[in-house]
């Protein structure tokens, strides 16, 4: 068995799509573990009580949200060609969670969850939405500084000045959001829109949410994509 320093860190970008958007984060983690075992890749196993695959994930995606850019890091005991690894994972993974790209990254990079903190989202409304009113509601929320909401029975507070980086309008009926996860909280689009409905005093049309970007944010504000720091 190779020592930890001899392991190879393979970063895999995958999507979350269709019905599988309704999987919870733990369900995705378990499913990916099984996909990796099915793929036959030479994965490394931890030494803990449960002897799990050495596998780390980027930040949890809300249940119901789809994504074009989720990541996991898998430690391998042997270096497998990227194309081959992608092919083997693709053959072993349900279509709704299909791997899109992969590459080796330096072992010393921080854990994915802490490293990839900037997100871009598309919120697609099923019907026309009053853009000006929604813009105004979002501005009012931002001016308040923070947003309180209930998650289950827990009261949560999100600092919008830190977590809501910006918003705009893309395709017709598509709101784009830029958010940042901090050590204290991350902002879920559904939470923001629910608060906006409160400000508007009426419901917005039904919508779907998709994460379309996930980056590391440098101290200078520059954005590095998940596979932007590959090792040789």
């Amino acid at each position: 068995m190779p020592g930890r320093e001899q392991l190879h860190r393979l970063r895999v970008e995958y999507g979350k799509d269709g019905r599988l958007a309704y999987l919870g984060h733990l369900e995705v983690i378990n499913t990916m573990g099984r996909c990796i075992r099915r793929s036959g890749l030479p994965f490394s196993v931890g030494n803990g009580f449960a002897r799990r695959i050495r596998l780390q994930f980027s930040q949890a995606l809300p249940v119901g949200a789809s994504s074009r850019c989720e990541y996991y890091d898998l430690l391998l005991t042997e270096r497998v060609g990227e194309k081959d690894a992608l092919c083997r994972l693709g053959d072993a993974t349900p279509g709704g969670l299909a791997p899109l790209r992969c590459g080796y990254v330096p072992r010393e990079l921080p854990a994915l969850e802490a490293w990839l903190t900037r997100s871009a989202w598309e919120v697609s409304f099923s019907q026309g939405v009053d853009r000006a009113a929604l813009d105004d509601a979002l501005r009012q929320l931002l001016n308040r500084g923070s947003l309180e909401y209930l998650r289950g029975e827990k009261r949560k507070v999100v600092d919008l000045t830190q977590t809501l980086v910006g918003w705009g309008w893309g395709e017709p009926g598509v709101l784009t959001l830029q958010t940042r996860a901090t050590n204290q909280a991350s902002l879920r689009p559904a939470v923001l829109l629910s608060a906006a409905q409160g400000v508007l005093g009426r419901e917005v049309p039904s919508y779907s949410v998709c994460r379309v970007g996930l980056w590391h944010e440098g101290v200078d504000g520059s954005l590095v994509e998940g596979l932007g720091t590959r090792s040789e």
């Binding site: 019905r19 309704y22 919870g24 099984r34 075992r37 036959g40 931890g46 002897r51 799990r52 119901g64």
Partner: protein
């Protein structure tokens, strides 16, 4: 008119964001059969939520068996949790199959697993949500034919009005025959009654509507079911039995779920049947004879299944895995092959002897969680009454062995309310736990840091059909509570933790185990009072059952605690697992005398009658490891 077969997922999807665990309703799992072209369509329903039903090996076996047939498709169905069921009713969405989100009422055949008595209101709920008439007699020519089968068919009378046909025993061949018959006869334009008559001619198939209930001086108040004149139905329906397990698919489980399940692992059935002869145990009678799967097939299936499905645990399942004659070799080989891949091998329970501990060591390796044993009774006298062939020495030797091998936590299962039980037997339960704890302290040392602890879990005895204790009364509710209090007050050591089953749940279970066809009125009324998911502690509401019982004029305590005489004709005697009533009567008498009966797979035939009656035999591949 039967509901048209069409995809309702677009109607269901908007509800997913509003319910707990939406992944229960998604389908599209790895290994699910995507092509559902039919033209004959069956839906197998486990009457509980997906996470409980999906690991059921019976459903997996039947799903694969039907889907293998040319021109037949089989989908799965589960009961939506209460939040989703209520939303579906609000939105006018009927119960749907999983694979194609088609209305269950659009299928040719709908099959239910009778997993346990407490699922009965869930079956009513499922039929109602599906829009299928609850009583078989109310169904029209075009409605689905509704089947049932599974471990709890052995007193099917109280649920029988809901089913067109009930399959007794092993289902892998019988269900395919039933589906083929429905397909062929429907294709020829046969009427529903002609189909039912033909089903009744198949081995192992009980068609309730062809029987009438007769109450007489030799029966209980629930009467007995006898064939209607001219129906051609057999007086006694005997179960189906696969003679050779090795001829069946060792790897029927092919679907890898997304949801965390109750049993989230690969399961390989290593043997069917158990001949230990515990007198309270229904499965020990109804799954006879013992049929082992050869070790080589088990190991190959486990390795192939793990590679194909990606699980990190494989469970070698059966009623008594450590009794398999090749158990040690099987476990040793699997561990050697799999441990480096981080794959755990598990067995569902351990024998209460040193061999059991040795096997637990084999599967656990250096990882020591808790170890579970089932002495079932506190005194040797009562263990002899129930035929639990375990001695004080066995318990102590197993405990010592386990502590010496590194285990620190021991869990012991017991029952209260067993026939002939006295207060002395109750007090002896914590005494057994104390002896085990003392052995642990002697081996490991005293004090909190040693980590030695014992927990005891105490169930309430429920007399079950086709067991030697089927004539026994259940303890009255007040007496159960007194004995539970006695148990608690007799437990003095802080390192012994006691938990016991809800006496009210056990009472309802006993009622459902003992009533005849007339008991369906109680089930229906309970469901109308809001009962569903009664096996879920947070959903079970005894007051609703009490109200329902009052409404239909049933005194539940009276039903459960009434003793029955040995010569009375019981409501379930027209269905037979092949074990003779004479054997059960003999076992009841031996119990009263405290005389034990050995396991026929380790000694010689004990005359239960199953082998000559069904034309089968025990299939044992090596030498069974007797104590």
């Amino acid at each position: 008119m039967r509901l048209p077969r069409q995809d309702w997922y677009p109607r269901l999807e908007p509800l997913l964001g509003r319910v707990e665990k939406p992944s229960r309703y998604l389908d599209h799992e790895w290994g699910a059969v995507e092509s559902q072209d039919g033209p004959f369509h069956a839906c197998m329903i486990y009457p509980d939520v997906y996470d409980v039903g999906q690991p059921n090996l019976g459903i997996a076996i039947l799903y694969q068996a039907i889907n293998r047939q040319e021109g037949m498709s089989c989908e799965r169905g589960f009961l939506p949790w209460v939040d989703m069921a209520d939303l579906m009713r609000e939105e006018g969405i009927p119960l749907l199959s999983l694979e194609t989100s088609s209305p269950v009422a659009s299928f040719d055949v709908v099959g239910f697993t009778l997993a346990h008595e407490m699922a009965c209101t869930n079956i009513v709920e499922a039929l109602d949500l599906a829009g299928i008439p609850l009583r078989a007699e109310e169904r029209s020519e075009d409605d689905p034919v509704v089947f049932a089968g599974g471990p709890s068919v052995w007193n099917s009378e109280p649920v029988s009005p809901m089913f067109d046909a009930i399959l007794l025993g092993d289902g892998e061949e019988g269900l395919v025959e039933m589906c083929s018959l429905v397909r062929d006869l429907r294709g020829r334009g046969a009427s529903r009654s002609e189909i039912l008559a033909a089903l009744a001619r198949l081995d192992g198939v009980y068609v309730p509507s062809l029987y009438q209930v007769e109450v007489g001086p030799t029966t209980t108040r629930w009467g007995k079911a006898v064939p209607k004149p001219g129906s051609g139905a057999p007086r006694v329906v005997r179960k189906r039995c696969i003679p050779d397990l090795s001829a069946t698919d060792p790897l029927p489980q092919k679907i890898v779920p997304y949801v965390g399940l109750v049993q989230d692992r690969l399961a390989v059935e290593v043997l069917r049947g158990c001949a230990r002869g515990c007198r309270f145990c229904q499965a020990g009678i109804t799954y006879r004879p013992v049929r082992e799967r050869p070790a080589e097939q088990v190991v190959r299936a486990a390795e192939e299944g793990l590679a194909r499905m990606g699980y990190d645990e494989v469970s070698l399942t059966s009623l008594s895995t450590t009794d398999h004659s090749q158990c040690a070799g099987m476990l040793h080989r699997l561990n050697a092959d799999l441990s480096l891949q981080g794959v755990r091998v598990s067995i569902p329970s351990q024998r209460l002897d040193s061999f059991g501990v040795q096997m637990a060591q084999e599967v656990g390796g250096s990882k020591k969680g808790g170890l579970t044993f089932a002495p079932e009774a506190g005194t040797q006298r009562l263990r002899d009454v129930i035929n639990k062939n375990v001695t004080e020495d066995d318990i102590e030797a197993a405990a010592r062995n386990a502590f010496e091998r590194g285990w620190r936590r021991m869990k012991l299962y017991f029952m209260i309310g067993l026939p002939t039980e006295t207060d002395e037997d109750i007090v002896a339960i914590p005494e057994v736990a104390q002896r085990v704890l003392d052995i642990g302290r002697e081996v490991v040392g005293r004090g909190r840091k040693s980590g030695v602890s014992v927990s005891i879990s105490v169930a309430v005895f429920v007399p079950k059909a086709h067991t030697p204790f089927q004539w026994a009364p259940q303890l009255e509710l007040s007496e159960v509570r007194r004995r539970q209090a006695l148990l608690l007050s007799s437990t003095h050591d802080r390192d012994i933790r006691v938990s016991y089953h809800d006496a009210e749940v056990s009472l309802v279970e006993a009622v459902l185990s003992k009533v005849g066809r007339g008991g369906f009125d109680l089930i229906l009324e309970a469901w109308r009072h809001g009962c569903r998911f009664d096996a879920w502690t947070d959903q079970f509401d005894f007051s609703r059952w009490e109200e329902a019982a009052r409404a239909v004029g049933i005194d539940m305590v009276d039903v459960a605690s009434a003793p029955l005489s040995l010569d009375v004709e019981l409501p379930w005697e027209h269905t037979s697992p092949g074990v003779s009533k004479g054997f059960l009567q003999r076992e009841w008498r031996r119990a009263a005398q405290g005389v034990t009966t050995p396991d026929c797979t380790m000694t010689s035939c004990t005359g239960c009658g199953v082998c000559p009656t069904l034309g089968v035999d025990n299939v044992i591949w090596g030498d069974r490891h007797a104590r």
